[in-house]
Amino acid sequence: MLLLQVIVGGLLLGAIYALFSSGLTLIWGMMNFINFAHGEFVMLGMYVALLTVTYLGGGPVLFSLSAAVTLYGIGIIIYLTLIRHVMKGPMLAQILSTFGLALLLRYAAFWIFSANVVSLPQTTLSGIVDVGGILMPMSQLVAGVVAIVLTVGLHLLLTRTNIGSRLLAVAEDRNAAMLMGIRPDRMQALAWGLAAGSAGIAGALMAISYPFSPSVGETFGLTAFVAVTLGGFGSVPGALYAGLIIGLIQALSAYWLGAIYKDIVVYAMFAALLWLRPQGLMGKAS
């Protein structure tokens, strides 16, 4: 029974990992661009949720939407002001630009919100669902389900819609896409918006259960990179599976072996999998 509880908890957490990892994989898939500031987007989503609850009131629907919309906007602004320009530079400049952006966002958050650990009000989406003795806190259940729905939605958007085709066309061949009347800048701005927006909503959903401070993005950023690499760069379903697997492995190893061993287990399996299958679970071998 306890074991089942561990598994359910791990999967719920893994679903959130999947949501914020899918944004990272989207940008990689679209632009071959590594965004080191992704964890900071999650952090900003948490603070937008907090500000919304504090100043506008309202429930999880409102603050999740406001985090998604705000981060969508921030993503587009960052693309237009920073990314578009550094993409013309060498690879190293691209990598370091988002690393710098991450530090800028983190320390700006320190300055604005202070270093204190904060949490959303205790009444936000409280309640516990009991399914045959397996306890699922409402907050994590909703977050997990929403995360899976959104991740699948993102995948469908990319593979089944006109916008998705245009996004992928730009990723495939920028010049050919331009000849077809697609504006790459607009599409890539949209990709950044979607990526940041999904990280923002993931942050808002996590903020319900997790206390946070401006340095929280560090931890999440790392998890997202592992999920993206494990899932296969550029694959949204890959990120979904990888997120769930990481959540599950962390939970099981923490329960059986102890908390201090869980990251050793996760990273050891990660390294082993990369050795066997360098392209990740769902990635295409090059």
Binding site: Q5, G10, L13, P211, A259
Partner: protein, 417 residues
Amino acid sequence: MKKTSHLMAALLAAVAISAPATLARAADPIKVGIIWPLTGNAAAAGQASKAAIEVALDIINNKHPELGDLPLAATEGLPNAGGAKIVVEFTDHQGNPSTAQQLAVRLITQDKVHALFGAYHSSCSFTATAVSERYGIPFMVGESAAGNITGRGFKWTFRGTPIASDYAATYMRFFADMKKQGRKIETIAIVNENTDYGTSVAAAIEEEAKKNGISVAIKVPYSANSTDVAPQVLQLKEKNPDVAIFISYTADAILFMKTMRNLNYLPPMVIGDDTGFSDPSFIPGVSAVAQGVMNRSAWDIGKPGTTTYKINEMYKAKTGRDLDDTSARNMQSFFALADALNRAGSNDPEKIRAALVATDLKPNQLMMGYEGVKFDQTGQNVLAATYLIQLKGDAYQLVWPDRAAAAKVEWPMKGWK
């Protein structure tokens, strides 16, 4: 011959340069370098302590006759050093022991501080004190609890706060008292973050428990950066101890309390070993689910009109919130250092060290509930002690020992019920 005269000239020049420093022109400020986590996962605690030191500086450097017997309050600056003011240099180790070490070197060699103070994380105090030992600059450890910081044969390390073994012994005396009242305390769980702080306190508690015939049902070390502690809560649930003792930083302490609620697990009693449980974010984060949680504290705000109450008012005016135990212990250690700096009457490290060794503060000269401040050969304050407090509503109340208690211990704890 020529060589010798060059050498002489160099020596004379060296004496000329160094002379003013050792003679200490009367009103030259005394510089104290402070090493703390001002960013990173313990930044909140570092910032709260920084504000506390700023209040302490106000008290030392300006006239505050209203603060009773608190040393240096009534006068301006350090009277024995010609009214010299204390100035501090705050630096940020971000929770990283090697950064703390580098900062100690920088503060001593470049900023030329006369004493060092810090470093919150035991792991950081451990490395930074080794630097001050090498350079022969006194280091006052404000509130780090790991036993191994003192006891390395160091001459230059002093510590005002109680340490891990003091706390462990306190918990056992408390358990003995509770048993007398008919509470069942046969097994305990020790849940600790796995750096020097958590590990050393956990080891001290385990050792004391053994001596007192209480069995440790399970030990749960974890990383304070964890984003998920559900498996750990389930491990506890499986062992079902009579008391769970947590040695945690802030975010993890909050996460544990929330997760215990979510998994419907409530032991008869939870004791938090200060730190995260004393962080100003803890109560607003979990008061709805953690009623009756116990904590240790040597700090008590006291009644209106008392010195402690007035200090708290000064702190509140600055930060908007009450002074917490961690910051208060830092402030107390800083007062002890300032008292020694005054008695040294000079910025000569050896004189400051001698003054620290001779420290003998009485309870009425303190803001904390210690029996006094007096350092043994290892530099540890042997008169440090602590109270136990319990969360009732939106505040902790002093519940143990009886002689100081403002309310009764509620056992078992209510949690969210």
